[in-house]
Symmetry: C2
């Protein structure tokens, strides 16, 4: 039996035990995991050193190496995140609906763990702990398939976490790490219907595309964000500048940052220049439509492909539009249904934008950067779903549960 | 452009209009559709006659022809079903959550239509109307791909429904029928990401398997049911007999009927014979384990494959088990997570069964045949989901909606 199938089968067996664990038992296990990470920080950072060394030998960039790197402080922060999750409400085992039928049947809809969750992700070893904590908190088991660049770190972290579970009520087999570095182990996970209940990809566009295109196991897609900000005619110039600047510059590498700024033609002549100067001063490259270039000589000519690109970088498309309709049409064509914003003083335009834009999160007068589980007050974030089924937008712990109908009768049969 | 892509694009354009329709406008359209069906019953039954004639020439069985057949009375019943849907609450546009954040952001989570729904189904032309009604009621548009056996009926029905929409606020393009009878039109629908928001298969196991295995568009699986009834030691013999008989015989062709009866070894000697006689008298073929065959000489020997088969027919597996654990293990191995039942007088055993069985609907002392949107009081049924994401078990109208976060601010940016 392959490593993937064997470990997934162990996770499925453990899922039946996890389903019986109380909230207290699960929280105690998360705290034990956090304590163990802190206690074992030296062996974890030592294993991490091997990944860093190999990465450097392979010519990995220093910025990627920094994302991979662990030290005592970072391990402590990862452990603290587990403790925070332990303190959150347990979304499993809740009564969601309860009703009696005229024939006397009592029907109760409860939330239950999804079962076995496959997580496919890239380099950062904190995701290993984070994903394990979120899955266990919600009564699930997890099969982790991290990037090979972090394999030594992940292997040691998982030893520590499984070791910690030995001292708790939870089964150590609830956490499984796939160590096979070949792409074939990912492909095998994607087809593991019957063993995995869901696969969640976390990573770049190509990782997610591979999962979505090839999985027969159900997927929760945490996908790309080509986010827009539309500055309407009546926008407050300072507010528009602050929101656009924040959406682009505060953290360009993430999915809720802005890729294209749409500006009403009546706003642009007086205010776009100043806004563009602020972006240029922050080293943002501007690619503009013809009318934009007429106002901002430093702008390069934008292409169709640019409008359809998630840069995740200090690059911004700017297009001047005739009106709200043209902005809506642009977003309908190029948007990825993630986060979209209108800056306007016109309530009717705001209402139209909020209603007509088909996206997970639609903003009026606020930065798209707020699309985030923590910013929404969920206390944790599984990811940001860009699909429409099951969960949409920032996902808190309830996204890792499903439901079950319990029906109690006294011999009812169907007539 | 292919027929599929062209019609899906029209449906997507219409979805933007549908999203603006009020509950009253949608309900008025459903009533207009119902009236038009009744008014046009003659042309519909006449088109249906062509399907029946061709089916008979092709050697289609009379029972299948009966499912395909329309007459004035059946058309009236189909129209009445639309009127019922018009009378149900609108699940779209509801405020699901609303909260303010410390930074002043006002976040509201509302229910919205999914968008464009692809429906792939088999022969019965009533599904054409049913699916169109459910999708329009929830503010969606629909691309219908019915079985080629009903193509003349479906074509005329869709003409009538679209014609009815001409007189309403709703866009006729909200209903699209794929007429291409080749399997390739199904395959194309399954990959239509960006145009279809979800695909819902309704039909037999092979149709559903094809959709699940090949779709890159998200799927709501309405799947197979290998349902079990476990008769515990303490079960009331008459209740056990009534429930098992009902679960098998009342309508064997449907997914919530029973395929395997599990009987506690302490119950079997005194009561199984009588129950089996009742089933045999109703022309049920029994396939039993060795211990069953010792009690019921007419039972054939059951195989592993039998336990894993959804008969949808007058055939039943019977297995005598040592205890509840063995019953739980059997269901864990062969069940399809649809509907499972325990008949018992022992509350502790009932509680364990309800908690430990991983299925959409788990019954204590009632027939599995109740897993049904109408029996649950939902007033409509999209299907019965056997997946864990988005919706599980009988799906009412809310399963055809997703959510959207609306965030209102006053210039908030992220620090």
């Amino acid at each position: 039996m392959s490593e993937v199938r064997e470990k997934a089968a162990l996770a499925k067996q453990a899922a039946a035990i996890m389903n019986r664990m109380t909230t207290e038992q699960k929280n105690a296990a998360l705290l034990a995991m956090a304590d163990a990470l802190v206690r074992e920080h030296a062996s974890i950072t030592s294993a991490n050193g091997l990944d860093i060394k190999r990465g450097r030998e392979n010519g990995t960039s220093e910025s990627l190496l920094d994302r991979l790197k662990l030290n005592e402080q970072r391990v402590a922060a990862i452990a603290d995140a587990l403790r925070l999750v332990a303190g959150l409400p347990d979304p499993a085992g809740q009564v969601l609906e309860s009703f009696d039928r005229p024939n006397g049947l009592q029907i109760t809809k409860i939330s239950v763990p999804l079962g076995v969750i496959g997580m496919i992700y890239e380099a950062r070893p904190n995701v290993t702990v984070d994903a394990a904590g979120l899955c266990l908190k919600t009564g699930n088991t997890v099969v982790l398939r991290g990037g090979s660049a972090a394999i030594e770190s992940n292997r040691r972290i998982i030893e520590v976490l499984r070791g910690a579970l030995e001292e708790t009520a939870l089964p150590p087999d609830a956490i499984q790490l796939i160590e096979d570095p070949n792409r074939s182990s990912v492909d095998e996970m994607l087809k593991l219907n019957g063993l995995l209940d869901v696969v969640i990809p976390r990573g770049g566009a190509s990782l997610i595309r591979n999962v979505v295109d090839n999985a027969t196991v159900p997927v929760i897609e945490t996908g790309a964000g080509i986010c827009h900000t539309f500055v309407d005619e009546s926008a407050d110039p300072q507010m528009a500048s602050d929101i656009a600047f924040n959406a682009k510059v505060q953290r360009p590498s993430v999915c809720n940052s802005m890729e294209t700024l749409l500006v009403h033609e009546a706003f642009a002549p007086d205010h776009l220049r100043l806004l563009a100067d602020r972006l240029l001063a922050a080293n943002v490259e501007i690619r503009g439509c013809e009318r934009t270039s007429a106002l901002i000589p430093k702008a390069k000519a934008v292409t169709e492909e640019d409008y359809a690109t998630e840069y995740n970088d200090y690059i911004l498309n700017i297009r001047i539009v005739n009106n709200l309709d043209e902005a809506l049409a642009h977003i309908g064509k190029y948007g990825t249904m993630h986060s979209e914003c209108i800056v306007t003083g016109n309530q009717a335009n705001a209402a139209r934008f909020l209603q007509e834009i088909d996206a997970a999160a639609v903003y009026h007068n606020a930065s798209t950067r707020f699309t985030d589980g923590f910013e929404f007050g969920y206390g944790a974030e599984i990811g940001i779903s860009t699909q429409k089924l099951h969960a949409r937008g920032p996902m808190g712990l309830p996204a890792l549960t499903t439901t079950k109908f319990l029906i109690s009768g006294s011999g009812q049969i169907r007539g």
